[in-house]
Structure formats: C-alpha cells, structure tokens
Subunit: 456 residues, 2 copies
C-alpha cells in the first residue's frame, strides 16, 4: 500500500508518459482488440472494459472518487488511512484473506491514494476475475472497524510517515514546498497527512468517511485484459451490482487558489544531503480545470522543455554546458483542480547550484519569449506517439489512464479524443501557455542543500 | 468598520503596549476605581465591568468569539462580511439608525474583525448606555438578511479588499507571507478573505453564520467607564438578558501547525515601492497556546530585542550603525492559537537591504546565544510598568485588553495575574524562548522591493 504522492514524485517521469499519453492514443488509434466499452450499473457504479487478448491476464481496478484533497480540515491523512483499513477484516473475510487468495493464484495486488482518488487493483488470471470482484464488492461496504483495528493500523501509517517522510529530507522539503506553492487549494496538504492530525484519527472519523465515500455510485471499475465486455458486465452485476447505492454526494467543489503575486523560496539544509538540487514550480491548469487546449499545450511544453534526453533543458545543461547531472520539467495534468508545472536541476561535479538554476531560468525565459519551433513541436508529438508502442505492452498503464481520468472529472471520450487534441496544438499555443504561466515572479522554488551550504 | 488584521498591522507597535500590558498591571495594581467585576447572564453572556470615574463617559463593547480563523473552508471573509452586515436593518431599526443615534448624542462607534473575534463598540455618555445595549441586543438576533442587503454589502467588502489589499503592495505581500508562514493553521487565510471566495458569499452562508455565532452564549460584554457593576447588571439583564441562549458551540479546536523544517522567503517587487523592506517571522506560542511563562518571556524578548528606541535592534541598526531608518520586533501574544514573532528592518539612504537583514540576524543570533542581561530585563519590565500610566488614560484600551483576552480563551484572572507573571520571568527564560523559537532555518522572510530590484 503506497500513497501516490510519493509514488508520483519518485516515478513521475517514468509513469507520466504512460499515464498521460499512452492510453489515449492507444485508444484513439485503437485496433479492435483495444476497443473500450463503458457502462453504468443500476447502483451508479461506472464500469470500463479494455479488452487486451495478447496474454491470459486481467487487471482489475476499483477507483474511488475520494482523495486527500477531499478530507475535512484537521483530518489530513484519513483518505490514505482508509486505503490501509480496506485490507482489514470484513463480515465475510478475515484480515489478509484477500491478499492470500491473490498470492495463492500467483497474482499481484496493491492500492494507492492520491489527492483526488483512492484505487485498489489486482492482476490475476481471467478465471479469478469473479473472485476478485467478490472480494472488492465485499470490502466496499462490509469492513469491521473496531477501535482495535483503528489503533493498530494508525500505528502503521504513523510509522509509514516517519520512514517515508520524516526520515527523508527530500520528502520533508517536498511537503513544505507544496504547503508554500498552494496558498488555498487543498493540494497543499500532504496525502499521508500531517503527523499531529494522523495521531488523532479515530473510529468515528473512519466510519463516517467509509459510509460517505465507499459506495458504488462513487466508484469506477476498470477491467483491462483477456476479457469480453459482456462477461465483465455479467460478473459486475453479480458482485458489485448487489451493493446498495449510497446517498448522492455533493459536487467536488474545493477552495481554489487566489491570484498569486510573489516569488517564494523554501530551503532545507540537512546533513544527510550530499548533492544539492532545486525545483521551481508554478500553479497551472489541469486537464479538468483548464480552458480547452491549455493542458494539452502544457503537456507538449513540458516535453519540449524538459521531457527526457532530447529536451532543451537536458541538452543545454547536461550535454552542452555540462554543469548539471540532471535537469528537466514535468506537468501533472491528470488532476481535478489546478496543478503544478515543475522544472528542476542538479549540479554536476563542482558546478554551483545557483549556476544550474540560472541556466534553467534562461531556458524557461527563452521558451516563454520565443516559443517553440514547428520541428520541435512535431518531434514532441512523435515522441508521444512512439511512447504508445511501449505503453501498449503495459496493461496496467492503460487501466491507470482510464481510471485516473474518470476519477478526476473526465470520461472515456476525453481519453479517446485526447490524441486528436494533442495533434491540434500549435506552436503559438505552446508559447502562449509558457508566457502566461511560467513567470518567475509568481513561482515557488525549493532548495535541498547539504548542511554546510545552509544559507543562513 | 475596519478589519483588525490591517488595524493590528499598522498600529501594532502603538497598540501592543496598551493591548498586552496596560490593562493587566493596571488591574493588578488596581486602585478601587479600577476594580473589575465579571459575571454571567442566565443566557450565558459574559459581562465584565471596569469602573473608571475620571470622566463622564462609558465604553460599551460586545465581543463575539468568532473570527476569520473559524470560517468554513471556501468561505473566507464571511466573519468580516458579517461585521458589515451587523450595521444593516433589523426588525426594530432601519439601517443607519444605530449610527445616527450615536452621533446625535456626540458619541462614537465602530467595529473590527480579527482572526479570533469580531467586536462592536460605542463610546457615549453613561446616560446613553441602556440605549446602546438595546441596539446591540437587537442586532444580535433581529437582522433582516435579504438578497439585496447581501449583494449591496458584498460589493462594499469587495471594494474594501481592492482598495486596502490589492492596491497596496505591502498588504499583498503580507497576505502571501501569512499564507507561507502558516502551513496548516487558519491564520494563513486573510481576515478580509480571498477575492474569489468573497465574491461567492451569499445569503444562505450569512444566515447560517449568524444563527450559529451571534448568540449571547458566544458573546462577551465589556463596559468600561463611569458606571457601577450593579447598574450595568440591571441594564444588561433588561436588554441582552432578553435574548434567548443559542445552541452550545463545539470547542474552537482548529487545525494546528505541523513541525516546520524549512527557511522560506516571499518576494514582491512592485513599481509602487520606493524603499525596500523586509520582515522575518516565526511561529511561536500565544498566551493561550503556550506553556506557562512562554508568552510572557516572548513579550519581554520582543521588548528587549525590538520594542522601541531603547531596543537592541534600534540602537544597533539605527543609532550606532546608521544603516536602517527603522528596525524592531513584535510579538502578538493575544491569540487563541500559536502566533507569530516578527523582526523587521528598512535601510536608510544608500544602505543595502541585505546588510540591514544581516545586521538584524546578528542581533537575533546574539540574543538567542547569549540571552539578555538582568539590567535589560529589569528595564524592560519597568518600561511595561511605566507604559501603564500612559495606558491608564485610555479607557478603550482597558476594554480592549479584557475583551481580546476573554475572546481568546483567557479570563479576568489571567488578565489580573498577568503583571505578576511578567515580573517572575527570568533572564534564562527569555534566552530559552529566543533559542528555541528564533531559528532562521525555520523562519519565513518577506521582501518588499522596488521593481528595479526584482531578484529574478
């Protein structure tokens, strides 16, 4: 059980292609075997079926439209806490029985929590799909939440926070950068929660949370693999279909950012840091919160400016100037509310961090001032398309694309039309979003420094 | 109608003595004429009477234990909005009637909103006290909140925000410094509210807010001046006593700060800025949230380090080095939750802001390392005491001390025992809070710069 905040952070460059790009084009240019079907059960549960007959495996995921950004004030961490609690005993199954059932048949399973959703998934042989659905449908409503279960699992998440965050200077800095970048929007609160609030989470909180959000009408079922839509529908009705619909939930309208007017820095100096690094972030629109085309342009901007070894930042800082061991940019577009656009760099050898940051700033200013060339833009679009061939082999990435999109305000059509929208983006549109959003006077920069370089 | 965030900020050094110190010692060393009486009405309303017979005037204040830090997420500004709405028509009086009644008898009245409370006050001849109580008791429950009233007054607070904040670079910077200093606690949200949320405030929000918080059992009545407790009690029972008690309110337990681990900066460069300045803030305990003696030690620390022309910062930077036109420190102790300790400086002539900041940092580091001398400490305590003679002439400051203390979790005894607690503070205790809290690696510094000096 991981929480996606860190999962995203540590694997973002690797997964962002698969997450944001692979599936859509895949679906758009869909061979019959990838023809996606979606429908609703009578109790409001959404179902998406992505046939993929190349191997006798199936990826089964349930996405709940509840994440850390939906938590009540003072209850930070409860969404991730609940991800853990979902692996406890139910009225039908002892704790651990589900996990054992999966491993006994040679499958794998896990779960993750993010700002906007909580997801549970298993990869097994198609013959075990009904069993998986039975277990998932059971824990959707039948958890036994005793004070003892709460206390035991709370100790687990507290220890998870200590080991993942508090013992990791980079994670501590990331938390305080987020709390600085976001002045009002709940993405400012860490997914795992603030320690002093996690310590107070109790059974009353958990039960209210469970009853409100763990309902079929707040869930999306994604089944990808060696299955047919009709068979999936029959099994889904037989399992999830038996779960009563819950009360309608109010729209997910959260506090939004005010206009930002300042340049901010966040500095952590720690003896455990050997190599300094920095990252600069801006608040930008997401696929869900932006105007048509903005997020697509930001995706291409991130790819051209800092997406891998062909990007401007890597070529300028790592290859040509040789002052950086790493430099790049990324955009996390699949979010319900406004999201962040990030550039980063790490000096190589004796190079100074300030020089690396200055060189990154030069490239950011240049792309905002002069825009991108048609050739760069076409190459970036080509790289997206080529990345699909790679992504096509990753069944779970396809499931993740549909799940994350549907859990953040999108629908199957948004995913399928996405490649066409990407292809329509012009160089002027990329230049426009760079000029509009990548303004240093309204940025937040985090510095991770060795103790010696403390800037006091 | 002002909102106290700015009121505090602009007049803090002037009012902090009166606010934090004048009353207590006054009360502690109280001549008979200042003997304070407090009691509860049957409906739960607290009453404090501070006789002061030197002049035939009376200060009448009603403090509601509701401030911006109590607002629901996404509804920022509603506490201050409600301060405005309280001057509108009721079932008994037309809008403006209360104001006219006050001015007709040569009195004065106003109101203010802060993070922890909203207060309404009038200063009139004692003969008009019952009239004032009648008006205040009436608007506690009988406001007529129509959509028209809401829309009209909402336009007023939006314009107030534009003129007070958005047209004032210093105020814009202050807002974003607060949103950076506070990572979780609601003091991060501006008292006047975020524009995009103020625009959405509606009659439903206002009515719910009014019915929940504007109740006698959530209010404190302070009457200071040429009156006797028995007479005040009789008038209070005749007016406020007729207002029905409201539902019990849940304790004011708010999200608190996580452990802070980073050094943060917030920079605003603006063409309207002629002289640069900086301020550095730390999160520290308040009188209500701190351990016994901590806030008292922080008050004396602020006085010794930066309280006026005798302070270390003023003497070092303005008098001896001559590099600053102003430098000082302040501590806002009268808050419900943790509060901020601030040092600041402005260069003189051609001096560089960085040199002024470095010189301030030197004094901060020195007082945290070496502490204060017994002589300094005694002089600081003496200055407190001497300031009382001045404060004694300000009847409204006495009312403010009791009102703000009782509205932030304190009681009359806390105020009256305060001078003894201050006198008990040792030099070691002052050094201890300086060393514990004034750590630059966990500070937030705001820079207000002329456009030319933009640090991009």
């Amino acid at each position: 059980m991981t929480f996606q905040a860190e999962w995203l952070r540590t694997t973002l460059l690797a997964t962002s292609l698969a997450f944001t790009m692979a599936g859509p084009v895949l679906a758009g240019s869909a061979p019959a075997e990838f023809k996606v079907t979606d429908f609703l059960l009578d109790n409001g549960m959404e179902v998406v079926v992505i046939p993929d007959h190349r191997a006798p495996i199936v990826t089964h995921m349930v996405w709940y439209k509840i994440g850390s950004a939906d938590e009540p004030p003072g209850k930070s961490g409860i969404a991730h806490f609940f991800e853990h609690l979902m692996f406890k005993a139910t009225t039908h199954h002892a704790a651990g029985e589900f996990d054992r059932a999966v491993s006994d048949i040679g499958g794998s399973n896990n779960a993750f929590t993010s700002y906007d959703y909580t997801a549970f998934h298993e990869t097994v042989a198609p013959s075990a799909l009904e069993l998986m659905m039975g277990f998932e449908a059971d824990r959707m409503r039948n958890l036994i939440l005793t004070d003892d279960v709460i206390k035991t699992e709370r100790d687990v998440i507290l220890e998870e926070r200590r080991s993942r965050i508090d013992n990791n200077p980079e994670a501590v800095l990331d938390e305080e950068v987020d709390a600085t970048l976001w002045q009002n929007q709940p993405y400012r609160v860490p997914v795992i929660g603030w320690m002093q609030e996690m310590e107070q989470l109790n059974r009353t909180d958990a039960t209210a949370f469970y009853d409100k959000y763990y309902r079929p009408n707040n869930a999306v079922l994604i089944v990808a693999g060696d299955v047919e839509p009709d068979a999936v529908r029959a099994l889904a009705e037989k399992t999830y279909g038996k779960v009563a619909r819950g009360p309608d939930l109010t729209p997910r309208i959260r506090p939004v950012e005010p206009e930002q007017n300042t340049k901010r820095t966040v500095t952590l100096s720690d003896a455990r840091v050997s190599v300094p690094s920095f990252s600069t972030q801006w608040v930008v629109p997401s696929y869900h919160s932006g105007k048509p085309g903005e997020a697509e342009a930001l995706d291409l901007l991130a790819e051209i400016l800092g997406g891998g070894n062909r990007s401007r930042l890597y070529q300028a800082l790592v290859v040509q100037q040789g002052i950086a061991s790493g430099a790049g940019a990324y955009f996390q577009g699949t979010m319900l509310d406004d999201t962040n656009f990030t550039v980063y760099g790490t000096p190589r050898g004796d190079a100074r961090l300030a020089d690396v940051e200055a060189a990154v700033d030069v490239e950011v200013a240049r792309i905002a001032r002069d825009g991108v060339t048609p050739a760069e833009l076409e190459k970036a679009k080509d790289r997206y398309v080529r990345s699909m061939i790679f992504a096509r082999d990753k069944q779970d990435s396809m499931a993740n694309i549909y799940g994350s999109t549907l859990a953040t305000g999108g629908n199957v059509q948004d995913v399928q039309q996405w490649p066409d929208r990407i292809r329509k983006v012009t160089a002027d549109e990329v230049k426009a979003v760079a000029a509009r959003y990548l303004v240093l006077d309204r940025s937040t920069t985090g510095y991770l420094l060795p103790q010696a370089k403390a800037e006091n």
